[in-house]
């Protein structure tokens, strides 16, 4: 039985008090998640008992490190529904995964006049790398519009937007601003029919929704380790192995080679072709532990918990009144991310005030400036949820918001 109050005890950081004696009400998991003891202990244990470089050592400790690293690879592959570990590349972040595809696939295969269709709700990490590669290759970026009213992608426009020049569609599994959960399979089918591949940004998706890259028919899928209870410096790129075979490596160096002469090199087999240099070994092992933790909870239960929290948050925000909520309201297409304005209080001011109550929300453009422009706002406040959040956290947010209103409505000062 999923009980966030019990799960919370696995996370040492919640013993912390902020601004004196206030409990930590952490509502910014979309920025980074907190870590359970199980993940932290795994990393410490690796460094204390198994640490060596991987794939090279002829000694037992090296074998042990390699086993743990490759074991983690299998876990992450299984977590995202991959058929096996061959297509699962360890990188240091979802951003690095996206850049690997842009730099390795995009640079090789995009030609002048080719089009890359990118949704208007993308995080900068699934936009800027494509801007850079488009500039280098002469390809063009085409926007896949967001319907501002519904918070959904305008998929009726897809048939017109997918031309014979479209080579790639870039789309997020779940928006880090609107919470929108996109119908990846539907988009992938349309893209494939038009001869294009699909790059899915799973940074927000994998931590919160049961993920199956085969069911999605994704060609490329980016995983953010630190957003799914794993350590910072962990992440993965999953891709259909035929794409990884065909594309160039992104980073060059040791490990990703087979033979090296002075003027040339041959590359290693998959997935090592894309793991140049010493990989993020301990972070990867930590990410494996995070996969174990989430798998034990069950991703359907995780998702159901966040749906409940989001529903409650929307209810309480509506009751507060004068709250503008961006993104869908339909919980079948909305994940645990709520971007909002409270009256006309600037998100930055809101964030600072609720901080003094121990409440952590994010204020800003959330690395989605094009989306902010479409929404017609410079920034939003954002509350986001994870397995350790409870309805009490949301209550604390609402109380803090009410105080903010007092300050901006009446005179200055707060009675405490």
């Amino acid at each position: 039985m999923f009980d966030a109050h019990v799960i919370r005890k696995d996370f040492p950081i919640f013993e912390k008090r902020v601004h004196g004696d206030k409990p930590l009400v952490y509502l910014d998991s979309a920025a980074t998640s907190q870590h359970p003891r199980q993940v932290i202990n795994t990393i410490v244990d690796f460094y204390e008992h198994s640490n060596a470089n991987v794939h090279r050592g002829v000694y037992a400790l090296g074998e042990e490190a390699t086993e743990r690293y490759e074991g983690a690879r299998a876990k992450v592959a299984a977590f995202v529904g991959a058929p096996g570990p061959t297509g699962l590349v360890f990188v240091r972040s979802a951003t690095e995964a996206l850049n690997t595809v842009a730099g390795g696939w995009g640079r090789k295969f995009l030609k002048p006049g080719d089009e890359v269709l990118i949704s208007e709700m993308e995080h900068h990490s699934n936009l800027v790398p494509w801007q850079m590669i488009a500039a280098a290759t002469g390809a063009t970026l085409v926007p896949l519009p967001v319907n501002i009213e519904t918070g959904l992608l305008d998929l009726d426009a897809l048939p017109n937007l997918l031309t014979e020049r479209t080579k790639l569609v870039c789309v997020t599994q779940m928006s880090n601003v609107l919470g929108t959960i996109n119908p990846i399979r539907r988009i992938a089918d349309a893209a494939h029919a038009a001869g294009a591949l699909v790059m899915v940004d799973g940074a927000q998706g994998a931590p919160h929704i049961a993920t199956d890259v085969v069911a999605m028919d994704a060609d490329f899928y980016a995983v953010s380790g630190h957003k799914m209870l794993g350590p910072t410096g962990s992440g993965a790129l999953w891709a259909k192995p035929e794409h990884l075979e065909a594309m160039d490596p992104f980073l060059g160096g040791g490990e990703m080679i087979r033979e090296v002469w002075f003027d040339r090199a041959t590359y290693n087999e998959l997935p090592y072709k894309f793991e140049a240099g010493t990989p993020p070994i301990a972070p990867a092992v930590g990410l494996g532990a995070a996969c174990d933790y989430l798998t034990d909870l069950g991703m359907d239960a995780v998702h159901a918990h966040e749906v409940e929290l989001t529903r409650y948050a929307l209810e309480r925000l509506d009751a507060l009144g004068d709250v503008t909520i961006h993104g869908p309201r339909d919980m079948s297409v909305k994940g645990g991310v709520v971007s909002f304005w409270y009256g006309d209080i600037h998100p930055h001011d809101l964030g600072t005030i609720v901080d003094t109550f121990g409440v952590c929300i994010r204020a800003g453009h959330h690395c989605a400036q094009p989306l902010m422009r479409r929404l017609g706002v410079p920034a939003t406040a954002r509350a986001s949820f994870n397995v350790y959040n409870t309805t009490e956290d949301i209550d604390a947010l609402i109380d803090a918001l009410a105080h903010a209103k007092e300050i901006f409505a009446g005179g200055g000062g707060v009675p405490f």
């Binding site: 600037h346 930055h348 600072t352 005030i353 453009h365 901006f408 200055g412 000062g413």
Partner: protein, 142 residues
């Protein structure tokens, strides 16, 4: 650490009733800066002539700290000689760096922003208008 320190009446007053918030005909300085962290934007319009800031105005949007700071700045520097304006800019930045300033009185209402130093992330908001003015004044001088 009280929110009083940050959201003093004077800050909220300048935020709700900004002074000198409009464009300027015949301006010699028009410069826009923004704070990409949160979307604050300030445009400084100024008429700099014969070594004086003859007139100054601002336009913009953003948080209470960035906008009130801009409003107070325009009140303070209007009609002052450039040398004095440059000293005020320096003193304000010194204050915002948490260091003592000789002539705090000269900063007038802006001392209300001293509390921002307790919220380091917001210091960028407070100095946005000042950075913009400083660059504009330098450009006009050259």
């Amino acid at each position: 650490m009280s929110l009083d320190d940050l959201y003093r009446e004077v800050i909220l007053d300048h935020y709700r009733n900004p002074r000198n918030k409009h464009g300027l005909d015949d301006s010699t300085v028009d410069l826009t800066h923004n704070n990409p962290l949160c979307g604050d934007e300030i445009t400084i319009h100024a008429i700099v002539r014969d070594g004086m800031v003859v007139d100054v105005a601002f336009e913009g949007q953003g948080c209470s700290i960035s906008q009130s700071s801009a409003s107070m700045l325009t009140d303070l520097v209007k009609g002052k000689p450039l040398a004095e304006v440059e000293k005020l800019i320096l003193d304000f930045r010194t204050m915002m760096a948490g260091k003592p300033v000789d002539d705090e009185e000269a900063l007038g209402e802006l001392v209300a922003l001293k509390g921002v130093t307790k919220y380091p992330v917001r210091i960028k908001c407070a100095v946005l208008a000042w950075d913009t003015l400083q660059e504009g004044v330098q450009q006009a001088g050259s």
